[in-house]
Symmetry: C2
Subunit: 260 residues, 2 copies
DNA sequence: AAATAGATTTCGTCC
DNA sequence: GGACGAAGTCTATTT
């Protein structure tokens, strides 16, 4: 086993005994560090669903905000996790009758729990290869371009992109079926409902637009024509057919990128 | 700087120079290890959208399957990432005119790219606190209970949970609007469309069921009555109202848990 | 490669 | 705290 303690916020223990790993993990949780553990473990989860995962090498992260992530060597998503706000503790299975110390062979457990919903994640390490604790200093936040919000601004600045003469009146207009992205009227004064999507749309988006158009037709009574326009970069074949069946329309508009 | 090389598949470098970090990272990528880097970095992404992230301490993971994850001290989701299948490389910004070596102050970059869609993620380290490489041995896969698939099996085994006399006929029956979860008939011989959800449902699920019912009514022509039943643990108020407006129904069924 | 829908989705926003 | 919808969603399945 080797211990590193540096003055720059990194503490690492390599090939610790389970008791040494326990101490290092407890210290990291105590200090509010970002904790990572690599070792052979099994994982059990019970809460919104239930899962079990047999023994294998995994990389486990516990963040100071209460997040826990268990990653295998494959996949972008963790194989098991716990969301922010959970409480973490490390524990050793109780030893024999007389001993107060934990059995040296007993697994080391990282337990994460929360209430509402009641959930528990247990990572049981049979061996630990590395424990690291990091003091994180991060004040910056992400700046992102190309979201649906960016597309909305683009359409509000240049309504003609939807169709010549389109006039946006309100965003997020409420209906019995939910809030409409953009509510406006066309060159002839007809009511227009616009549903925005930042990428190619499928049947679900058509369903959404349908719900809003139907709801507005009821709200505004029978006399007024309500047009529904799906605004997105492109549509799938089935979605295009569904739009046609329902008398709805599509207008191709790209979300702004980088500079625009 | 301290280097650890153990016989059990863990290599760790603490407080390396950028050149030392570069070598450690390149070796890990070469060997197909799970690579982790903790350090101060900026992140730029360009692809399906664009994003920038200013300097801060982050934990970066590169998996042998091509996944890259950049985590801050907060949140379950990575602040930036690259999906499985991407290609990674480490590089140093080119030095001055005459030198062949990289400028010692030039940032160390982890670059991840893929095509279709064209995406690039660049993590620029101004300092590195730790580089670790792990040889992962994991043969086990996750076993999970409580999914929609489990709910489907429960309903197929006990159709009366939906309503007395319900008879499932086909699963995944195709319609013009997509595949129906369970297609069957009720005690009176009416066509029944069942949409399953493992948790409390909102307006989107009602929209889905509506699409399938509408599509089937057209497919089967006008004479037959098509009932639509949303099967889930519970419904939101608005969803319940939308169901009523459309003449659709709700039946409360929980997905099986643990033992069941 | 594209399409479709589920997910212990997570995340933000608004009520 | 619940409800609702976006997301660089990811992931599995099917065409």
């Amino acid at each position: 086993m080797t211990t590193e303690r540096t003055g720059t916020g990194v503490r690492t223990v390599v090939e610790p005994t389970l008791s040494e790993a326990e101490a290092a993990m407890a210290g990291a949780l105590e200090r509010g560090d970002l904790l990572t553990v690599f070792g052979r473990c099994s994982v059990d989860y019970e809460g919104r669903a239930s899962s079990t995962l047999g023994p294998g090498d995994r990389h486990v992260t516990a963040k100071p905000d209460g997040t826990v992530l268990v990653h295998t060597d494959e996949g972008q998503q963790p194989v098991n996790w716990q969301p922010p706000g959970c409480s973490q503790r490390v524990e050793r299975v109780e030893g024999g009758d007389e001993g107060t110390d934990a059995d040296d062979d007993a697994p080391l457990r990282l337990v994460s729990t929360r209430e509402s919903p009641d959930e528990e994640l247990v990572v049981s390490f049979e061996s630990v290869r590395q424990v690291s604790a990091f003091a994180v200093d991060d004040g910056e936040s992400l700046s992102l371009t190309g979201s649906e919000e960016d597309l909305r601004q683009r359409v509000l600045e240049s309504p003609d992109l939807v169709e010549p003469g389109f006039q946006p009146l309100v965003t997020e207009r409420r209906t019995a079926a939910g809030a409409v992205d953009i509510f406006g009227e066309d060159a002839d004064g007809n009511v227009v409902v616009v549903e925005l999507k930042r990428k190619r749309v499928g049947p679900d988006a058509v369903g959404q637009l349908t719900r809003y158009v139907d709801a507005l037709e009821r709200d505004l009574h029978a006399d007024a024509t309500v047009r529904g326009i799906l605004v997105a970069p492109s549509v799938t074949d089935r979605a295009r057919r569904m739009l046609a069946d329902r008398g709805l329309e599509f207008s191709a508009v790209e979300p702004p990128s980088e500079g625009e």
